[in-house]
Amino acid sequence: MKTSMKPVVFVPRDSGALSLGAEDVARAIAGEGAGRGVDLTLVRNGSRGLYWLEPMVEVVADGRRIAYGPVDAESVPGLFEAGFLDGRPHDLCLGPTDEIALLKKQERLTFARVGVIDPVSLDDYLAHGGYEGLARAARLGAEQVVTEVMDSGLRGRGGAGFPCAIKLRTVMQTAADQKYVVCNADEGDSGTFADRMIMEGDPFVLIEGMTIAALCAGATRGYIYLRSEYPHCARTLKAAIAAARARGYLGKNVLDTGRQFDLEVRVGAGSYICGEETAMLESLEGRRGMVRYKPPVPAVCGLFGKPTVINNVLTLATLPIILARGGAFYKNYGVGRSRGTQPIQLAGNVKRPGLFEKAFGVTLREMVYEYGGGTASGRPVRAVQVGGPLGAYFPQSMLDVALDYEELAARDGLLGHGGIVVFDDTVNMAEMARYAMEFCALESCGKCTPCRIGSTRGVEVIDRIVGGQNQAANLLLLRELCDTMTNASLCALGGLTPLPVLSALKYFPQDFGLGDEAAGEVR
């Protein structure tokens, strides 16, 4: 890079970075630059996902990105003094960004551009391989697109792990005067933030993915159902949608294919159950988020009764790279029936929390210790919850499980949306079990009794066990209650709440005031 060029500084606009003061840092850099008469370009990028280093500021020196972090406003004058605009050394200097060990070890496919580009610049997106997937998809035609997605092995990243290609094909083959693509951006699971990072850091990849799905399935309208807790995503998405529309990537004649597709953002209203796909459709139709009976599946009879492709943000945002590079390229990553990569989100009590995209197969232990560096508190790890509020708690002895759909299922767990929450030895697991029941009661749509009533009974029964009242009888009652919820709930909220409850009881009976034998009976 020529020295005469304007210095470029990247300061994330990601809401995690903002929560740690990135806005103040950006303001301080602009102010300090102006004060020194330096004309610099400030780019507000997404986050690289290394949250222990946020706010992480980057500059370009000799054509290479150099990172500094964590930066606060007070350290900005010192950075200028040290010559950070030219990538010079400073206590906060992390070296070239792409050499940061925990970034380098990742396989970034879905997240290839997140943190790299200016999220609302279509030109930047295009300069980094954007819309190559759609261009190839348009050349291949719908049938071939389904084949590529089938070959990639891509499964839904929202939790259920259903093959993406089958939904696409079903909607494609179902004749109708109107079809829809709905993006599930409700991301309600605690410990997850990958969807948010995509929408804030690379919204065009989601728009491109939805467009690929739409052209393949024959849909002309799309909705992104976004949770209301993500106002920054709403702003970035709306800006990106407007930019795509202005340049013919959305609208009446997408990329001169003669095909129509447009989409809009719909903001939810704080309901976890609206992440369940049929409740989401009800909500989009303007009603209470009550779960629908299936069949019919949404692919046949979905939004407003029309065939609907409904997928998670990550699933849709992975279509562009699959179409650009081919199904075989994507399938090369991963293990067994879990193909490709999983953006793993590491949170809770962990020294290095963040987003790490890895090929399937990495173990929970590697994530918690090698990536996470153990607990933030420095105390021993006691329990790890995988897969959000409906996922199991694992003790130390089970951390060698590989993070893939089948391995976790074999241990009464689930991958869910790929979130991992670490707890140190101060956690009380009876309280976590109680919380799981409480959360289910709070968020139940109320359609079926086991979930609506059972969850409230569950809280009471756990309280009695912990209180030492008639423990044997109450344990039996809790087991029966969990059985009923598992077997007789319409959806996974009631159906899977027993996973965190029973795993807490199985692995941590002492927290319930029980001996090991008593807990053994529960299984």
Binding site: L20, G49, E54, R266, R287, R288, A347, V421
Partner: protein, 155 residues
């Protein structure tokens, strides 16, 4: 946000503007909630008329969603995340601290109308737990001291 004053004309205008949107009821309620900070009871018949729905249907939707308030909030809305990742980083103690300091529970507003305290279940900021929002701003790795400072900075 937090405009406690409202009038029927502006609510009718919102309903009229959005009534032809697919799934209009949610769009209208969302807009009213965003603009006023709550959904005044007299909007129910106005919306019901505009959409040709029963009042019970409109009311049923309002009551289903946690975001829709039937009372005006305080001048500031403080939301504390209560979900698992934040619990692992001390959210329970943080909540106790805030409740003691403000003398209110979740879902309540201080007597002087200054602050409404709400529980929220994940802000997607779990890598910076415990997380909170104050009005439109998000904060991570929040300690009791940090929250005290924030509360003191408010009018």
């Amino acid at each position: 946000m937090n405009t406690n004053g409202w009038d029927k004309a502006s609510i009718s205008a919102i309903a009229q503007e959005l009534k032809d949107q697919p799934g209009a009821l949610m769009v209208i309620l969302r807009r009213i909630q965003d603009e006023l900070g709550w959904i005044p009871q007299p909007s129910v018949p106005l919306i019901a008329d505009a959409l040709n729905l029963s009042r019970a249907e409109v009311h049923g939707v309002i009551s289903f969603y946690h975001d829709f308030r039937d009372h005006p909030p305080g001048r500031h809305v403080l939301r504390l995340c209560r979900a698992e990742s934040c619990q692992a980083m001390g959210a329970v103690a943080l909540a106790r601290h805030v409740k003691d300091r403000l003398g209110i529970d979740f879902g309540q507003t201080t007597a002087d109308g200054r602050i409404t305290l709400d529980a929220v279940y994940c802000l997607g900021n779990c890598a910076c737990s415990p997380a909170i929002t104050m009005d439109d701003d998000i904060y991570g790795r929040v300690s009791p001291a940090k929250i005290d400072k924030l509360l003191e900075s408010l009018e």
